[in-house]
Every structure is written in structure tokens, then in C-alpha cells.
Symmetry: C2
Subunit: 116 residues, 2 copies
């Protein structure tokens, strides 16, 4: 068992050309005994974004707060609190903060993919 | 790719002795091609609760909104928006709405476990 508020998990900051204004945290991972999948949170500042990339593992994302623009396979979509997004393996994707508040998302990946 | 607000997913209501005032939805599952794990949402009304039970697969839960009391292995814990909970296999657990608003949680399970 583990109970943790996302703000209490160790933070890793990404702030370069690829990922702008992003703080990532592992909430539940292999060190907790989670053998099938890993839960991370990402806080994305206004104007910030994740890298536009693709990889061999899927994402399952839940938008907790703030407003997002999602790029996926050439399409632009909007997402806000309560939206779920499935990104299949090898789909090119990026998440941008489209609002004035911090965007907070939860992102799950299969075990074996890099946790952060 | 799939993008869906949780309120747009098909709802299954649970309201008996075991689970009181609970609406469950599969947000991302095997029908979407998610082969490793499944994302569900649960809305729990004030006074409502999930069953007190244990099972052979783990849960990864994220508390989206509302206030919760978590029973796990004989302990009572509080959780609110932004809290993550890992329930290991065979740990007895229950989630209760401890507030006056609907409690909304996201709950992930490995592929192979019953989706809802």
C-alpha cells in the first residue's frame, strides 16, 4: 500500500527545446512493487509543453486540472479536467498547456518503459 | 488514439449492500486496444462507498475530486484531489465518500482483470 499526494513525490524538471516548463513525478512505480504499470504526474506551466515524440509503448492519460491542447498524429484536440486520452504505441503526440493555470495530468505507462 | 471525457463513457450503476451510490465507467480498455492495463472512473455519491474487498490484482487509483476515506488493511486514511493510492494484490480495501460533493476517482487495473 502507498498513499501519496502528487506534490510529495520527488520532482524532475524538464525545461529545454523539447520539453518546456514540465515537472514530472513517479507516483506509483516499480520501487513500490507495481509490476504491471507505472503512474506518473506531470505539471506543465502556462506556455509549456511536453516533447513531440512517439515511442513503442502506449500512454493512458487523465487530465486532472487546467486546459490542454493535444497534438496527435497531425490533429489538434482540446482536453480539460476529466478527459482521458489513449495514445497507442508509435502515435506521435504532444501535450501543451493551453490555459493560464498549471496543467496537471496523470500519465500511465506499462512496466519496462522508462518511468521518468 | 481515443479522447473521451469520463461523463461520455457508458455508465454502470452499483447500488446495493456491497457498493452504495457508485457509478463506474471504462475510459480506456481492451476494446480500445489497450493491451496492458485498463482505466476506469468511479463516481461515488455522498454517503456512498465501494465494496470492502480484496482481489489478486493491484489497483492504482488517482483521486480527481471530492473527499475520500480509504480503508486499507484495517487502517483508515484520508485522500483528496491529487492523491495517488497503490493497493497491492490481496490487500483489503474500500473507498468511502467522506464529503458533501461527488467523489470522483480514476482506477487502473492490469489487463485480464474484470474491467467493470
Amino acid at each position: 500500500m502507498k498513499l501519496i499526494h502528487y506534490t510529495c513525490a520527488a520532482a524532475k524538471v524538464f525545461d529545454d527545446e523539447q520539453a518546456r516548463g514540465v515537472t514530472g513525478r513517479v507516483l506509483i512505480g516499480k520501487l513500490d512493487g507495481a509490476s504491471h504499470f507505472c503512474m506518473r504526474s506531470f505539471e506543465i506551466k502556462p506556455g509549456g509543453h511536453t516533447p513531440r515524440h512517439a515511442h513503442a509503448w502506449e500512454y493512458e492519460i487523465f487530465f486532472h486540472s487546467g486546459e490542454a491542447q493535444v497534438y496527435i498524429n497531425g490533429e489538434l484536440l482540446s482536453a480539460g479536467p476529466g478527459t482521458a486520452l489513449y495514445v497507442a504505441p508509435d502515435e506521435e503526440h504532444q501535450i501543451r498547456n493551453a490555459g493560464k493555470e498549471t496543467l496537471i495530468v496523470v500519465c500511465l505507462i506499462p512496466a519496462g518503459a522508462p518511468e521518468l
